[in-house]
């Protein structure tokens, strides 16, 4: 037994003879992470926002026919097809409200358990820290995806109910059929998940490192606001394409004919530069840190 310095408890009759346990899979831990999210009231704060905002938008538009919608082509055809609504909502919510929903859970998912002391409860079971981390990061991403598609689904249904299931005109002026437009709406939301997952990675890092839910949530959303401000500073135009917040509009390349993949590809690697190191750093922090909270 190596014991250079430290604490040791020995019970030799039992020592090496333990039967190996069958380990739970990371998928099992992930399922329980989702169940925990489902059982917490605060989980629904973000989701309620995802339902209410599109509904308010549709009601407001229904009451203000013919108002000036600016130059956005989807805004001008808002009352022509209900399928313009989810596109406009994604445009509106992608900058702040969807990142806010993602931050609410990603910033909380480790810190909350640390503060309550339940992190040490689960870390003394038959699961490794890496498994717990992976399950939590996946659960936070799942929540972000649910928030995005919930907002899209509510906007689509409310829009179609109000203005019908008709063809729409894309950013490049091409008319696409309603089924194709529906598919594009789905794809646009899926592509938007790329920068959102990177933000989730940052949220999980802050959650793990700060051990404080409020600090991690505020820090994550504060970073978004900071990057928006940086993008407005004259003279910093050269770094603008590499700001995470600039990637929030990457999905618009899908709504052109032919599809413009360049912003999507650019966004993918820029987001990887934010998200992958953040997640890796969060993993290392959780792996090496003392868990004594609660």
């Amino acid at each position: 037994m190596s014991r250079a310095a430290g604490a040791t408890a020995t019970q030799s009759p039992l020592g090496p003879a333990f039967a190996r346990r069958r380990r739970p899979s990371t998928l099992t831990i992930y399922r329980w992470e989702l169940r925990k999210l489902v059982r917490q009231i605060r989980t629904y704060l973000g989701l309620v926002l995802m339902v209410i905002l599109p509904l308010i938008f549709v009601v407001f538009e229904s009451l203000h026919h013919g108002r000036n919608h600016g130059e956005n082509i989807f805004a001008t055809e808002i009352t022509q097809s209900g399928l313009a609504t989810p596109v406009l909502m994604l445009l509106f919510m992608s900058g702040f409200f969807l990142p806010l929903a993602a931050a609410l859970v990603s910033g909380d998912i480790v810190a909350n358990e640390d503060g309550n002391g339940t992190l040490k409860t689960i870390l003394t079971r038959s699961v490794d820290r890496g498994q717990v981390f992976a399950a939590k990061a996946l659960a936070a991403m799942t929540y972000a995806a649910v928030a995005v598609f919930l907002a899209a689904a509510v906007a689509t249904v409310a829009g179609v109910v109000s203005w019908g299931f008709h063809s729409v005109t894309t950013f490049s002026g091409t008319v696409v059929s309603a089924p194709e437009a529906l598919l594009l709406v789905f794809a646009a939301n899926a592509v938007y998940l790329i920068p959102l997952f990177a933000l989730v990675g940052i949220g999980v890092l802050l959650s793990t490192a700060t051990r404080n839910s409020a600090a991690a949530v505020v820090g994550t959303i504060g970073l978004v606001i900071l990057l928006f401000i940086v993008a407005q500073i004259p003279g910093l135009e050269s770094i603008k394409p590499y700001l995470l917040t600039e990637q929030f509009q990457n999905w618009q390349g899908l709504l052109r004919t032919p599809t413009d993949w360049a912003p999507i590809a650019h966004s993918a690697w820029v987001c990887a530069l934010y998200g992958v190191p953040a997640l890796f750093a969060a993993y290392l922090v959780l792996l090496r840190r003392d868990v004594a909270g609660g």
């Binding site: 020995t10 069958r22 339940t118 409860t121 003392d290």
Partner: protein
């Protein structure tokens, strides 16, 4: 070794817990008990060296190092928004094997079955402590680590907790009991380790400790006056005094034996010679605060 800034919290602690023991782990606040338990469960990293349980390092070997081990450090923590049963289902899922099949059984053991459908947020402190033991038993542990399981319980709760620990020990589970409740330790434990300032100041059988510290005897003879004279004149008798119920003698076993022979030779009949063991509380304070009484010798820790 674990150091927090300039404070040395744990310094080479080695606990030899034998199968079947109820092993008391004692020390004043800040002595390093909880830090030691956290290290051996892999919750915190030693500043230097390793912390091992059965020769396995949880930080290197991960969850595998905790096979056969369960328990809680400080108060057991659960998800307040889940019911007691749901919490156990979650923890059983994280244990794998057949842990989930034992949920009802362990709820019965800790007598929480009627409240298992209620959310833990509404549980009393005692119920959470019992749920903590239930959660530990799901793992079918051979070593159960309990950190202050009776703290915060009312007298009935403490009595029930003691009964539960005794029952678990009776079923063959080895218990490592960290506690401030010295009467509880004295009642339950076979062996103890006492730590102070991060180091073990005593480790061994509780009975040995009490014998070492309790070198005091009550003596009744046919002639107490003569016996007192002989005791005071006898080499090795540290203190002799007359009391209401005979003489009080302080000396080690060997010198008391010699005195008894001397009394016999002098024609003084011994009616009663009773060792008076010091209480664990007396010994605890002597070891951790430095009392004036006889100091038990620290044992070598292997």
């Amino acid at each position: 070794m674990k150091r927090y800034n300039e404070v040395l919290a744990v310094d080479h602690i080695d606990l030899n817990v034998r199968g079947g023991d109820v092993y008391g782990f004692l020390g004043p606040n800040g002595a390093g008990k909880t830090t030691t338990l956290r290290m051996i469960l892999g919750l915190i990293t030693p500043t230097e060296g390793t912390a091992e349980l059965f020769g396995r390092d949880p930080l290197r070997q991960g969850a595998r190092a905790l096979d056969g081990v369960a328990g809680f450090v400080e108060a057991p923590r659960f998800y307040p928004y889940l019911t007691g049963r749901k919490n156990l289902q979650l923890l059983a899922a994280l244990d794998g094997d057949e842990a989930a099949t034992r949920i009802e059984e362990v709820l019965d053991v800790v007598e929480l079955a009627p409240r298992a459908k209620h959310k833990v947020g509404g549980y009393s402190h005692g119920m959470r402590q019992r749920l903590g033991i239930a959660a530990a038993l799901l793992r079918r542990p051979r070593l159960l680590i309990l950190d202050e399981p009776a703290t915060g319980l009312d007298p009935a709760g403490m009595r029930d907790m003691r009964a539960l620990i005794r029952r678990l020990a009776g079923e063959g589970i080895t218990v490592l009991l960290s506690s401030h409740q010295l009467p509880e330790v004295q009642e339950l434990c076979d062996r103890v380790a006492i730590v102070d300032s991060g180091r073990v100041v005593y480790e061994g059988a509780l009975a040995d400790l009490r014998r070492q510290g309790g070198a005091s005897y009550r003596l009744r003879t046919s002639d107490d006056v003569r016996a007192l004279e002989l005791a005071r004149a006898h080499e090795g008798i540290e203190h002799a005094a007359a009391g209401e119920h005979g003489l009080s003698i302080q000396a080690d076993e060997q010198h008391v034996g010699e005195l008894s022979l001397a009394l016999g030779r002098a024609g003084v009949a011994i009616l009663a010679l009773t060792p008076e063991l010091a209480t664990l509380e007396d010994l605890f304070f002597r070891l951790t605060e430095g009392g004036n009484g006889a100091q038990p010798q620290p044992v070598a820790i292997s």
